[in-house]
């Protein structure tokens, strides 16, 4: 594990809202989590869930848009934001989901916030603990 003495720079990534972006998003964010001493497996899974939700549910009425991911240290925790410019959060019961995604994220995060930005889309903000003695 890297030991650094400065607060690491935020990570910012823009990806197309397509299935192939899920592995890119989760591995990048897991790497950042490892660097700052946050639980990388949890971050990887939570990012996979949040990006998959956006890809599957946010663009049902139009062409796939963008996923904007951001990771940074905030209040001594790792804050990961997954934003899409889609239709906004609403139920899609025909999707055949089991309601696993958000519940899994809720289980792994100290806090999960879902926002409806004024400009549309959905922003999911997830907070993860950082181990004592880690950088950040």
């Amino acid at each position: 594990m890297t030991t650094s003495y400065r607060k690491p720079a935020p990570l910012q990534i823009r990806l197309d809202a397509v299935p192939g972006s899920v592995p890119r998003a989760r591995t990048a964010l897991a790497g950042y989590a490892r660097e700052v001493g946050a639980p990388a497996d949890d971050v990887e899974l939570a990012v996979a869930e949040a990006t998959s939700n956006a890809i599957l549910h946010a663009f049902t009425s139009r062409e796939p848009g963008n996923l904007d991911l951001r990771a940074e240290i905030a209040g001594g925790e790792l804050q990961v934001t997954v934003a899409d410019d889609g239709d906004g959060m609403r139920p899609h019961p025909q999707g055949g989901g089991l309601g696993l995604g958000l519940a899994l994220i809720g289980q792994m995060t100290t806090s999960l916030t879902i926002k409806r930005p004024a400009g549309g889309g959905t922003e999911v903000r997830m907070m993860f603990p950082i181990a004592e003695g880690s950088s950040g």
């Binding site: 299935p19 899920v22 989760r26 591995t27 990048a28 490892r34 990006t51 890809i55 989901g97």
Partner: protein
């Protein structure tokens, strides 16, 4: 940032025999099971119309709810057609942890290795093979 991990999923098929002498297909997966690979996963399972199937996730490094949904659906479809399905999950692995967190580890009846899975296939249908 750490080096980008190689992601993807590969499937390989094998044949085996249960302790009671029945034929079983084994599909073993390696890699990552997420939204990017779930189609490949479903195709690999669809091709196996086998009466007895073992889905071996022993080589899977990452799974999320897309993979879990696919597992649950495949299993339900096979059970509805009276086909036997057993799952192999490495004890202590990330896959086991995610199934556990999802509340599905017991329902999916994950086995620790192929031998336990083969034996479990024999246990499934008492009238047909005379075991309980």
């Amino acid at each position: 940032m750490s080096e980008p991990a190689a992601t993807g999923l590969s499937a390989s098929a094998e044949r085996a025999t249960t302790p009671a002498g029945a034929a079983a297909a084994i599909v073993a997966f390696e890699g990552d099971l997420d939204l990017a690979t779930v189609e490949r996963f479903e195709e690999a399972l669809d091709e196996r119309g086998a009466t007895n199937l073992i889905v071996d996730l022993g080589g899977v490094r990452f799974i999320d709810s897309s993979g879990i949904h696919a597992l649950v659906r495949a299993r339900a479809a096979r059970t509805a057609s009276d086909l036997g399905t057993e799952l192999v999950v490495a004890p202590g692995s990330a896959v086991e942890r995610v199934l556990e967190m999802s509340g599905l580890l017991e329902e999916l009846g994950a086995r620790a290795d192929r031998d336990s899975a083969l034996a479990a296939l024999d246990d499934r249908d008492p009238p047909a093979n005379g075991r309980r």
